[in-house]
Symmetry: C2
């Protein structure tokens, strides 16, 4: 059974423990993304060694390839990922909007063509729950409609109404299965319109779901409009349920959201940037391909204890990227995942000692100069 115990509040920031069938997770937590049954470029052993505790898998990718039935036949997404810890699946809705072709939307369902093989697919609230049940993660997400960052208020209102109706249908479908084995989270929409956010939250909270996500952010609206929305979530969402801000990973955004009461995050940033030779550090981004590192014997971060920084110099990493060796992306992904886990741990410690308000501007200064 999934739930959160809040151990300490500091301002709006929450220091808690998320309980799942696959174990407890200290919150606030950052979840690396394992798109297609692997967090890209790393083994689960390497992932665990970075301090990552809970991961996300993408329903859209897995339903198209290898297919939900095949995932189930192979033992579920935990087994395929060889990950025994907590896991969450998204509903597939977001990728339908960002990746699929020939999308057709109705109140009943969304139909689309697979971006992989052009096959016709249908995703309804009921199907999204059934697929996620076959995948078998600890937390399932409702199917929602996520309008673009520049959507009009009318478009946003339509998405709020439809998403709330879909949340109800997802709940009905979810209640027919083993609700303790897999939780269902609702997703707040409402774009950058605070009153629509409140409306969306109210409709979801009435459903009394095990957790609530904040969706429809980090879709191009920018940092300040995102923060303006987050300013209100502590009053909009119940105090005793986990709160998950979807798709957010930039350290600046993580800090702003934690300070406003968010518990969970996911983003591809650590691994995507890792593959692109861009390393996160406490003193800003390191572009590994930069010629200035050709003969540098320094690690990415002298104070970092990750496998990459313990064993590899910037010069060697640069060489590995220049030579097109897989080890380069693997090592910088490991470093970035470690940075995110360490960053969240620092955040948790700062909440416990009521110092996050003081630390946040210092960290932002260090990281973004």
């Amino acid at each position: 059974m999934v739930g959160i115990t809040i151990k300490h509040r500091s301002g709006k920031a929450r220091r808690g423990v998320l309980h799942t069938p696959h174990g407890d997770v200290q919150t606030p937590v950052f979840m690396p993304v394992g798109t297609a049954a692997t967090v890209k470029g790393v083994t689960p052993d390497q992932l665990a060694a970075t301090g990552s505790k809970m991961i996300l898998a993408n329903t859209y990718h897995l339903m198209l390839r290898p297919g939900a039935e095949t995932v189930a036949a192979l033992g579920g997404v935990h087994r395929m990922l060889n990950w025994d810890g907590p896991m969450l699946t998204d509903s597939g809705g977001y990728q339908v909007f960002s990746l699929a072709h020939l999308r057709k939307m109705s109140d009943e369902a969304v139909t689309f063509q697979s971006h992989i093989d052009g096959s016709k697919q249908v995703l309804s609230p009921e199907i999204a729950v059934d697929i996620q049940r076959a995948l078998g993660a600890d937390v399932m997400m409702q199917l929602d409609e996520c309008p673009p960052g520049d959507a009009t208020e009318d478009q946003v209102r339509e998405a709020v109404v439809r998403s709330a109706a879909w949340a109800q249908r997802c709940k009905t479908q979810w209640l027919q299965g083993d609700c303790d084995a897999q939780a269902l989270f609702g997703i707040q929409q409402g774009g950058v319109f605070v009153h629509m956010r409140a409306e969306s939250a109210k409709r979801l909270v009435d459903l009394d779901l095990p957790g609530y996500a904040i969706g429809g952010l980090s879709v191009g609206e920018g940092h300040d409009p995102m923060v303006a929305v987050l300013d209100h979530i502590d009053e909009q969402l119940p105090i005793d349920k986990p709160r998950y801000l979807m798709g957010v990973g930039e350290p600046r955004d993580l800090l702003a959201a934690v300070l406003r009461g968010v518990d969970m995050f996911d983003c591809v940033l650590p691994t995507r940037n890792g593959r692109n030779a861009s390393a996160f550090t406490w003193h800003g981004r390191v572009k590994v391909r930069n010629a200035q590192w050709a003969r540098s014997t320094e690690p990415l971060d002298a104070n970092c204890s990750c496998y990459c920084c313990s064993n590899y110099s910037r010069g060697t990493l640069r060489h590995l990227f220049n030579a097109g060796e897989m080890l380069g992306p693997t090592l910088v992904s490991i470093h970035n995942l470690y940075f995110f886990a360490e960053f969240m741990e620092a955040i948790r410690t700062a909440i416990e000692s009521d110092e996050l308000d003081a630390m946040a501007p210092r960290w932002l200064d260090q990281i973004y100069g």
Copy 2:
């Protein structure tokens, strides 16, 4: 200081220990290839966990990128590879013949254009030793001329004479450095002509080098002509020096060579095939992409204890390759490296109990059906 202690002979097969400045290695040994300062697709931790004990790095690749001086500035090839165990570098000669452009050969040196950036390069026996000294591996190889598998006897004779002269020049250059820190091996040429092989060996043995390689095989001549050459190496090469068959990795060839007195091998086969979804097992090759494995929950080899077989099904591996995930090549490379290490261990055990003659046909039957 590099040398071999032969602990047991069974027919011509030798069970020994190769001593190097970075530790002892049980022989016969298979060395995975770390072309450009990494064994492709795996970390050194993963590599060590496969049971691999000694690896090879390619001088040609490293001299072109990042360059020998940069390798030295970054602490040498052991440091770059993050590998504390024994290591060997080839001379670069073989890749000059297989990869470089606009090659010009003289008794003095070979000039060529880099296949990476077109830059003009020179490799002489002296330069090959100097570069390998900068790289810093335990064993350096002489620069030699490796004619193609279909070379005429005249071409082969020329290569034998030139390679012997270059061995002498490499030795002179080698003697000016720290000979205990890095050994120099000579390379026998002679194509498939047994008398030329004898002539080549005699010229090398006169130089009294720490070890001898058998070059110019596995270049398209086929299994039987290779074996016909290997039939004579036990009488051609000194009993008390390590013998290294270059570029050979097919299990069938490894067995034939060990039975004829070879101690060391290297090949890209485990990692190249790993990246191509082709797995070595004791019961033949498994083509991981094959549709028949789509829902298979079996590992590649039910009797294998590698990280891949302990944690991943054929169905999941097939999915990872189909999805283009790096983890697929990494996992099958790990499995293949483990297979090669285990195969060599079985060979060593069989030599110790004088059973290799009996086991070899059984293994070949299993593996090649």
